[in-house]
Amino acid sequence: MNKIVKLALVLFAVSAIVAGVLGVVNELTYPVIDAQKQAKTAAAFASVLQADRFDLIDFSNPDFPTVQTVHKAEGVGYVVTSTFSGAQGNITLAVGVDNDFKCTGISVIEHSETSGLGANAASTGEVGVNFRKQFVGQDESIALSNAGGSIDALTGATITSRAITEAVATSILAVESLS
């Protein structure tokens, strides 16, 4: 019995020390990580819609479960962020929508798609830029070319491409539901 108590105490002590150290490191790194996340989101917003400021507006519509936030840029349009499942995991996407309900650009904020295939949707390379460019000017009837639309899917990443296309349509519909 004594032995078990001793074992438990040693394990507890080691865990407590490690937890303490982690707490300190977290305290030090959290502000930096948070600032980076915000800067990244701000950069994503700026790349999808040209506006000086974005104001978070209240959006809670049960018809759009994937929509996370909607920001309004006065007189210019909206930026919708949504999280939905891609081929490997969740994708978080920012979609710019102007006042005519046309997409002004998309930016992938977070994803875990296959490197070299689905990950191209977020890449800064030619493939990624050309893929994202196709969404500019589209309305809510957007679809992949194999479904009668005009968006060419990424090679070998149909699921990712379809998920993103659907998310763009959802985002536009979400903005339409506001008016």
Binding site: L7, L11, V18, V25, I33, G156
Partner: protein
Amino acid sequence: MNRKKQFTEGLITNNPVLVQQIGMCATMAITTTLFNGIGMGLSVLIILTCCNVVISAIRKIIPGEIRLAIFVVVIAGFVTIVDMLLKAFVPALSEALGVFIPLIVVNCIIIGRAEAFCQKMPVKDSFFDGIFQGLGYTCVLIAMCVVRELLGSGRFGGGLIDVANGFRFTLDGTGAGIQIFPESYGASIMTLPFGGFLTLGLLIAAMQYALKKAEDKKAKKAEEKKEAEK
């Protein structure tokens, strides 16, 4: 303990990936660009060295029955610290490696070295063991990255080297690398897990061949010496 022997063991004769064949999962998954490979290699090197030192330092007070639990707690602690530091200061790398940084917790290299080496050896030896084994791991990652990146996307040093405005190193992962042939000619299958298996398999085969040859040579020499003595 002989440092030189430890060095050759870590890098060649007892290389963690090519000879001990541990830590293969991350090796296959992340070796698509040089940036990833070096980042992952250095992360493992740092974590391995820290864990080796701490585990070796507390080896006498750890009860044998719960040593594995304690190893895992210590390893998880260091991995989380490195994960947080990377997220804060090298976010591009943290993003590129994704889940494979937290997964270092279950990387057998670290628990393997703790179990096989550090729990019996003094702190100093464990420290060098961490450095050399980590270097061995990093070298394998770099070799795989170079092969897969070249064949898969025709590039060298993606994320790490920028040649657009003169030659410079980019630590934020923005460098496009040196394009050796157009990306569209690359066999993109090499950047997928399949390419990882293929490259790793061939590397292991080459290593085993080289080791076997060196051994044969040694045996032959010993035999000749014996003959001469007769």
